[in-house]
């Protein structure tokens, strides 16, 4: 699977490099603004950096979906499925690449922001006004982690929709539309199950329930997609 993972990263290489370059430019604006005593440039650099972090995470997810569609529904699928690798490994490499790229981006951005804070900490009224402290940091981390989990669940559901439409409706026309309909159907099903079970969960257990349900959904979508790829997919 490491070799599959290597090739998944190679496919995304130019996108990741492009993102990193943009982050370096925005960080450069921040540093130039700091040393040039220009709070406006600093602020803009920080805002662009934050935007690129969020945009980067979303674009990594969207890219992985588009790559998946490309890999499954045109001739490039032979590159993966001619190799002696199971659907679990093929899909696992894609999911891992997505996860590592997203987490890697977040780690780079968080470390950079921490570095920025210590660079200017106590000296910039702009950053002091942001009131960054332990509680707000924990809240940000919690929200971000939860958002990341929801995003992964969405990606997993989309992948399952694509695989389902390609296996069940192999020779049908308008495959993209079918994938969309399958996705809508699955979303309704997942939220119905969530709400049905959720009625029996006390409100104190809501957070834990959300996390467990999302994890089960991600794992369930992955296993189902991989199994369908191995046993039902016809190229």
């Amino acid at each position: 699977m490491l070799k599959l993972l290597k090739h998944e990263f190679q496919k995304q290489f130019s996108r990741l490099i492009g993102l990193l370059i943009l982050l370096v430019i925005s960080e450069g604006m921040f540093v130039i603004g700091y040393y040039g005593h220009n709070d406006q440039v600093m602020g803009r650099g920080l805002a662009i950096f934050a935007f690129l972090t969020i945009f980067g995470c979303i674009s990594i997810g969207i890219d992985s979906i588009l790559t998946m569609i490309n890999d499954l529904s045109n001739n490039h699928n032979y590159m993966l499925f001619m190799t002696p690798n199971s659907g679990y490994k093929i899909l696992g490499a894609k999911v891992l690449e997505n996860l590592i790229s997203t987490l890697g981006l977040i780690v780079i951005c968080v470390l950079t922001m921490i570095g920025d804070y210590f660079l200017v900490g106590g000296k910039s009224q702009y950053l002091i006004n942001l009131h960054i402290n332990t509680a707000s940091t924990a809240s940000i981390v919690h929200s971000f982690s939860y958002g990341l989990m929801i995003w992964l669940a969405l990606v997993a559901l989309i992948i399952l929709s694509i695989v389902l439409s390609l296996t069940l409706f192999k020779d049908a026309h308008h495959n993209f539309l079918l994938s969309l309909l399958v996705f809508i159907g699955l979303s309704i099903l997942m939220s119905t199950i969530y709400n049905t079970i959720g009625r029996y969960i006390p409100s104190s257990g809501d957070n834990i329930y959300n996390v467990i349900y999302t994890i089960i959904m991600i794992v369930g979508c992955y296993v189902t997609s991989a199994t369908l790829m191995d046993h039902q997919l016809s190229l």
Binding site: K3, K6, H7, K11, N75, H76, N77, Y78, M79, F81, M82, T83, P84, N85, S86, F169, K170, D171, A172, D230, H231, Q232, L233, S234, L235
Partner: protein
């Protein structure tokens, strides 16, 4: 041995293979012949574990075809399937990563022999050059079975000769190769067995040399007879 037993394949409402039975023996070169839509590609994909039969089984050395079979079966599709941003060198490295029987040295040799540059990007290659790269990648594997789906499609005469030469010269004695093509006359000098498909059914399997010696009929003429039902004089 690669055995096909009572294999049928349907997609939604369309049946593309009907009760196909035959066995491929080691060390033979097979021509898989038939009109468009006769089921040749579908059979190849089933044998290469890229699809599952609706009924029946295909076995490799008495084991049902599975993902693991891809270690012993080389399948070469008609279409270009390499990623566009790859170079010829990248194709070799990719195969080297995933196939234990792939020889990167042999790949380099075949690419050089066919006057191709490894730095060339796949998206810049002509159809003839792409065909050569595909063949080089496939034949650099040392597998017992090769399934080549219309490897001569869309390429000029000289390139076709080069491709067929490369295929024959790269083969081990014990390897079995199945080549599907509409260019029956060009294939005839190289093959010793022929399998004919028509409307999803395997209608005949014959020895090409026996056909020539005992019936005095060329493979192309026999194809015409089977497919059209009459013999056309040249």
């Amino acid at each position: 041995m690669l055995e096909t037993k009572n294999v049928s394949k349907s997609f939604l409402t369309k049946q593309v293979l009907k009760n196909v039975n035959f066995t491929l023996k080691p060390g033979s070169i097979y021509a898989l012949l038939g009109p468009n839509g006769s089921g040749k590609t579908t059979w190849m994909k089933l044998a290469a574990a890229l699809s599952k039969p609706s009924k029946g089984t295909i076995t490799l050395d008495d084991q049902p075809i599975s993902i693991k079979s891809r270690e012993k079966i080389v399948f070469l599709p008609t279409e270009n399937f390499f990623y566009n941003n790859m170079t010829i060198k990248d194709v070799g490295l990719y195969y080297d990563d995933f196939f234990a029987d792939f020889s990167i040295e042999k790949y380099h040799d075949l690419i050089n022999k066919m006057d191709l540059s490894e730095k060339s990007k796949i998206k810049t290659l002509s159809s003839g050059m792409l065909a050569k790269v595909k063949i080089a990648a496939a034949m650099s594997r040392n597998a017992p079975y090769y399934l080549l789906d219309e490897p001569l499609n869309g390429i000029d005469l000289i390139a076709r000769d080069e491709v067929m030469q490369t295929i024959i010269e790269s083969l081990n004695e014990d390897a079995t190769i199945v080549i599907s093509s509409h260019l029956v006359e060009e294939l005839e000098p190289y093959v010793n067995q022929a399998i004919f498909f028509k409307q999803g059914e395997m209608i005949e399997q014959c020895d090409v040399e026996e056909l020539r010696d005992t019936q005095g009929v060329s493979l192309a003429d026999h194809y015409r007879t089977l497919m059209k039902g009459d013999f056309l004089n040249a």
